[in-house]
Symmetry: C2
Subunit: 355 residues, 2 copies
């Protein structure tokens, strides 16, 4: 069943059928009804490939993330898909893992599918910050379609960024811990993404502002599980139980560093924070009295654990909305769309801290 069949059956030309299908006003009500009836009864569906060929667009956007099984990204993608669907767009999903080469490869592949825009979820896409070169592929991609970053910042034409103010979030938490008399705040992280760097800056600034020393040994980097190379900077290759493993791994690593002293933990994500909680349990430390813990992302984990976890919510949903709003403008041909968009974080206080 193609447009010719419908035209024949309705006794009109293909142009008229096309007009009806696309809701053009230049069709008489009568012919419209007739054509619609034929379409209905013959269950005709326009061929999207042919349409795509003509319009050079299939109304699809590409969504790329390192790992959809990560709670944070899943939530973002969930939200993005739902809203894009409302606007009649379909989403091609790519999970690129954490390696630079794979990111570039996936990006190229998505572009070759002639997507109308590209959304990148996760701070990882903004590079490790060591090298401008790392994000060159994004500027390259942006020459073809508008690129939107969720929770990351990259400068470039046709690149639009939405990110939480993780620096401020980390600052506020650290400040609060200091105010409650904490002297040795452990900064716990497992990746060197844009977001992690912002958190570190916030942490260090808060210490400096309070006149506290910044101690190198309190910046505790947990090499991701199962990662041989530096490239592998996240827990993304879903080895069975990886996420589960991460929690216990964190506990074990903290236990292993017997000489390391700290009275509180600021963790860059909730699984690290839960790991710290498990550590406290193993050591018999009371939380929050002997060990205060704060996490990041305000995920489900924050309420699963016991005591429940204070966590910074970086408002993914709003980041997604901001990105989409601007995307619609860009796709609509608007110029002067704001490229850079920062959203304040929100600290969700629970029982693992006493501030």
């Amino acid at each position: 069943m193609n447009i010719y069949d419908i035209a024949k059956l309705s006794g009109v030309s293909i142009a008229t059928v096309s007009r009806v299908v696309n809701g053009s006003p230049r069709v008489s009500e009568k012919t419209k009804q007739k054509v619609l009836a034929v379409i209905e009864e013959s269950e005709y569906t326009p061929n999207v490939f042919a349409r795509g060929l003509g319009l050079n667009s299939m109304k699809t956007i590409g969504i790329l993330c390192p790992d959809i099984s990560d709670q944070y990204m899943a939530e973002a993608v969930s939200h993005l898909e739902k809203r894009m669907h409302q606007y009649g767009y379909d989403c091609i999903l790519g999970c690129s893992g954490s390696r630079q080469a794979a990111r570039e490869h996936h990006t190229r592949l998505l572009l070759s599918k002639r997507i109308d825009a590209l959304i990148l979820v996760g701070s990882l896409f903004a590079g490790s910050g060591k090298d401008q070169e790392e994000t060159e592929y994004l500027r390259e991609a942006a020459k073809q379609v508008p690129v939107f970053l969720i929770n990351g910042y990259v400068e470039g034409e046709n690149i639009y960024c939405s990110y939480g103010d993780d620096c401020q979030g980390a600052y506020d938490v650290t400040k609060a811990l200091i105010r409650r008399g904490k002297k040795r705040i452990l900064f716990l992280y497992d990746s060197q993404t844009y977001s992690a760097r912002q958190k570190l800056i916030g942490y260090e600034t808060a210490l400096a502002d309070a006149g506290c020393p910044i101690r190198g040994e309190l910046k505790f980097y947990l090499r991701p599980l199962g990662s041989g190379s530096m490239e592998e900077s996240c827990f993304v290759d879903s080895v069975p139980g990886t996420m589960q493993g991460k929690i216990h791994y964190t506990r074990e690593m903290l236990l292993a560093h017997r000489t390391l002293e700290f009275d509180s933990v600021f963790a860059c994500n909730d699984s690290l924070a839960v790991g710290a909680l498990k550590y406290a349990l193993a050591k018999g430390l009371s939380v929050p009295e002997e060990l205060s813990v704060a996490g990041y992302n305000n995920s489900m984990m924050a309420v699963c654990c016991e005591p429940e976890l204070t966590s910074v919510d970086n408002q993914v949903k709003q980041l997604c909305n901001d990105a989409i709003d601007r995307m619609l403008e860009v796709l609509d041909g608007k110029t002067d769309v704001e490229q850079d968009h920062k959203v304040p974080c929100r600290i969700v206080k629970r029982c693992t801290t006493d501030f």
Copy 2:
């Protein structure tokens, strides 16, 4: 840059370029190299729409799930995407929510994108079991493309199912609880999916086999949060903190039923189980002595909570692999591909039970 440009630049016809691009053997090594060089240097990418139009396929598969922000489905989708990508397929993701109408709508839309196959993740797609009518749209869809169900069972031509043996999983857990002297095992569920029904059957069978009475009041249905209608049979519309809310909601509902007596809980998913754990904490019940708890899905939540949760792992990854293996066969034109595939579950014992 299109195939004509490349042809001109290489001094050959478009047919030859096409052959080179598609790796046809009927090209001399010399011309091949020449064309390849031109393609490389001009950064030519074949237009997928035109190709799709000719071949009536763009090598994409549709993946539909009720909610990608659900850990279980996210893991499935993650795995599906990774493997399909290896085989050169792209994935269009749809999140349909839990309403029947939305499921049908999303399915139709995906089909209209001329996907090569459709994968449905989640037991919800197998219907509530009340009505054959509910799954009619799947049989309809299967007339166009092969349909694959992950964790659900629907009969029909061109429909292929992979599902865990949730009946056996529930049976085993219940049996183990009985063996440890538990007399009143609460069956906690929040949806009436295929999977939930299987679990209920397993639960009841185990009781019957042990000569224990099946008590209606111990089958505890938790109406999903924010759901007005029966249609809304899952926690899928991501209201802020829905998943988080589910845990506390479970605790509150259990606390509210003051007269209900039970010494153990078998929960149909981990968040319900964690809710039961929170209930035990609120009541001052020791786990597992005074209250044994077992969950389902062996998610990250199972190790976040304290004590850590015994949970049934229904092996999503294997379900996905089985589905993909068969999909590749079907797409390859093979006939007599096994339609029905059941995978045994695995009980992961942790601290919330003493068996």
